[in-house]
Symmetry: C2
Subunit: 156 residues, 2 copies
DNA sequence: CTTGAAAGGTTCGGTCC
DNA sequence: GGACCGAACCTTTCAAG
């Protein structure tokens, strides 16, 4: 398993392929092939190699939460009583479906999480009835994202 | 254009399809069809309907930044001199490839961004030579993500 | 929702540096 | 060995019923 290795070499053709697919994972490979000027089979072979190198983890459908009525996104900084409480806290956070990301951070807080809720009232319930109830959580700071103005992946 | 409408109805079959594809956008539709017990074309029709409703925005290849040598992720809270500087600041941030997300937030800062860098030195350069140079940026607070412990989409 | 035909994706054997 | 191509086979897509 040659993986998570930072010595992966990709050439210009690989970059072109990745740029197409990072925007739309279901873009026809033959269309890319015609644009670049090689056969579909060659692209497929390169993709298999890139996958084996660990460079891409897979592909995901992106759903628009607003259409499902989820319009409130927020970041919450969490203070823990003791640093050793982290693994249990993460385990508890995993069980809360509104929690989309969880980062173990330097700085003020022990943990920074991103949550997605239907509205402010839903966010308040998640805060009071779910997050504040977790053992070890002493205090939280909430930052509501009024507008996500940039959302992209690493630039290749 | 019936879009961004929060009155989209999805049934159990739609949910199953979405759950499969949110994990892996290139999963064979016929495989899902066999699991659910309807034809591949039927799934395709439901997907077209869901796409028309605005529920999904597309699909993306997910690349692993670590393999490319990008190992330092951080959140940076940005204080702006004046709130009106926001549009210009976002425009400037868009030109910095290391900036992956940008949120207009309530609370302490005007802006919260997520950056991805090769290492701490690279992060320092991005902070000092790019972000601090933006007109209107008065002060920043940086939180390095030592470990992203949860990363997922809205639960369906 | 299903069928069926056209377009696309995948794999394999072979060719050419 | 490494990269690419072409053809056979399977999957996806789309229109018609």
């Amino acid at each position: 398993m040659k993986n998570s290795n930072s010595s992966v070499k990709i050439d210009g053709i690989d970059k072109k392929i990745l740029r197409y697919l990072m925007e739309d994972a279901r873009r026809p490979i033959l269309e890319i092939a015609r644009n670049i000027g090689i056969s579909g089979a060659a692209i497929h072979q390169r993709l298999r190699k890139l996958e084996a190198s660990g460079l891409f983890v897979g592909s995901k459908f992106i759903v628009n939460p607003k259409v499902l009525g989820y319009t409130t996104m927020a970041y919450i900084g969490i203070f823990l009583d003791k640093a050793m409480a982290n693994p249990q806290a993460v385990k508890a956070l995993e069980k809360i479906p509104e929690v989309l990301e969880c980062h173990y951070t330097t700085g003020n807080w022990s943990i920074l999480i991103k949550v997605l809720c239907r509205d402010n009232e839903h966010l308040m319930q998640v805060l009071n009835k779910k997050i504040q109830q977790i053992d070890g959580v002493s205090r939280t700071e909430t930052f509501i994202s009024l507008n996500q103005q940039i959302d992209r992946q690493i630039h290749i």
